[in-house]
Chain length 366, copies 2
């Protein structure tokens, strides 16, 4: 359970420049800014620059970007704006962050918000060399459908999002389904907002690289949202919602191929832990398993090898790539169809998981 520790730390990853860095002055507004907002900005090297209006504040700090444990300290100008640039370039992709203003935690009014760390955080996007695979392109687009499904076990209507591929509405085809879980402190919005799962699928489908399937994303912290509560995490409550309530609802309200062979589960970080627990508890329900920065399976974890069609394990190169690779070698040696993927130059963050989904999708339901 070593990988949990990583989840509980806010990861502000950056490469620290040894000498005074030459910062290229080609900063542009982050693609995740609110409409008309000029800041935060990002340059071609991956530095981020912040600008916050708070004329009477004593201190403003951004949780991102090294410069010591506290992130990036901003300096006040005569115009009342606090500005500052990260001490080094940030990793490619999406980062959560927040502001510390006079001792309180607030969001950057320039940035859009994304749910992580059990709060709506500010988000910033560092352009990536491979961002094309999750870009919004002029291709046919699937839908992200918000559903409210009845849950007797929790006595409420619960929310899920369902990705349906382009043409789903008009076709008569039935589709396999991937149940895809977010990480600790996130919710069912994460995979389509910061993860761009729908655009990754749209692009893969447009290029003919995958057979279309549905993705179902729901809230996985059914019984446990307190900070640090993972130590006592029990998967039962969520497993009941997922397996006994959501899956039957999806199978009766969408055109699915509703058998084990055409049902996959994957998750990132804590969602990987849930995926591992639930797939091992319910081998008759899922045939394809994916843990994204979410641990590993050992061959002896799995009772009936014939039921497992694929095990996909991934993480960022800044996490524990050796653990993932050696686990996959062990699984292969034991006769499993197992695949590892290491995301180069990324840590326990969404760029690792966007890339992991891009690698996983073509392997599913073959």
């Amino acid at each position: 359970m070593k990988y949990f520790a990583v989840v509980l730390v806010f990861v502000a990853s950056a490469s620290f420049a040894q000498t005074t860095p030459l910062i290229i002055e080609d900063f542009k507004p982050s693609s995740l800014n609110q409409p008309q907002q000029e800041y935060p900005q990002v340059n071609s090297q991956g530095y981020a620059r912040f600008k916050i209006l708070a004329p009477a504040a004593d201190s403003v700090r951004v949780s991102l970007g090294l410069g010591g444990r506290g992130g990036t300290k901003l300096k006040k100008g005569e115009d009342g704006f606090w500005t500052g640039t990260t001490a080094g370039p940030l990793d490619e992709g999406f980062h959560y962050y927040n502001l510390k203003i006079d001792g309180g935690k607030f969001n950057d009014p320039g940035a859009m918000n994304f749910y992580g760390s059990v709060r709506w955080e500010s988000g910033i996007e560092i352009p990536a060399h491979d961002q094309d695979f999750y870009a919004l392109k002029d291709v046919p687009h699937g839908k992200v459908e918000q559903i409210l499904f009845p849950s007797k076990s929790t006595n409420t209507s619960r929310r899920a999002f369902v990705y349906t591929p382009p043409g789903y509405e008009k076709s008569k085809q039935k589709y396999p389904v991937l149940y895809l879980q977010h990480g600790w402190g996130e919710d069912e919005t994460a995979w389509s907002n910061q993860g761009r799962a729908n655009l990754i699928m749209d692009n893969l489908i447009a290029e003919g690289k995958i057979k279309p399937f549905l993705i179902v994303m729901t809230y996985g912290m059914t019984n446990e949202i307190k900070f640090g509560g993972l130590r006592d995490f029990k998967v039962d409550a969520f497993q009941t919602v997922l397996v006994d309530e959501l899956i039957p609802y999806i199978d009766s309200n969408f055109r699915t191929i509703s058998d084990q062979a055409h049902r996959a589960m994957a998750g990132l970080s804590m969602g990987g832990m849930e995926t591992k627990m639930i797939t091992l508890n319910k081998p008759e329900v899922f045939s394809h398993y994916g843990l994204l920065s979410g641990g590993t399976y050992k061959p002896e974890d799995i009772k009936d090898k014939s039921k497992v069609k694929l095990i996909f394990l991934s993480c960022g190169s800044k996490e524990r790539p050796d653990g993932v690779k050696s686990a996959v070698e062990e699984l292969k040696a034991a006769g499993f169809m197992a695949v590892s993927y290491i995301s180069e130059g990324t840590a326990h963050e969404f760029q690792t998981w966007r890339r992991s989904l891009y690698q996983l999708a073509p392997l599913l339901f073959k």
Copy 2:
């Protein structure tokens, strides 16, 4: 065009108590708080109480709740938390707000965010005596589907949300469509987030009060998002997106009855202005018109009376109810099917529009 002025002012409505009020200490967290957040709170009288951590701040103020032009001033306690209660009860329903901290504008970290005033604002919900009609109940739920539709005129894929009623997926029925617009500074998320359009529809359908139809919600500030820009507002760019791009996309990707008789347009505030302009420009496209706090039609505005099946005009009792009522009388006298609705005790805010949708829906497509 008098009603525009109202849009451009942040409306913090409250009834001011003349004497020192007796505040009942039954405060509970607002239903729109982020998970696990105890503040903001609301009591049974409609007072709101705020609590913000900012130990080193010099001043914290909430934009809501009278107490002078600046809203509610909070006071710092020894624990570093700033607290305060509105000077009077707020109107029932949803309110946008923000915090002014040491001269900068930020959101309340306890509350969820809602897009209004061209920014993601904090939101608070004052329980209403009639909140049952937009409550999340144990009834069959429709879906809110996010679509990305191609728009040549703006050279991008644009987002819209489509409400489909319960059972849409499995039925073979075709449905009428209401195109429903947000107000100035809001976007396509407003009607389902703060407006609860999907829950209003689910509940009306469950009670057998309406014939189900689709609702399509897209972004209406295509060419104009600058503050104050309404003076020069031209509807052409949005009309092209709506009529020439979105409607054909909806009609070819959803099971719609794609004729004028089964197509309605309505909008709140600026969305009402757009509705008026576009329905008058395109009488062959829409047959049912709704302006919610969004102005009025005069009989002479309409060239071909036979094309108009319904005109619905509404506003809050704290707006200009007389204007709405007299406009409807004039329209009726001229032989139009016209209906007015006044929301009691509400102003230019979402409770007026939730109620207006609830009143409008049963009148559509009869």
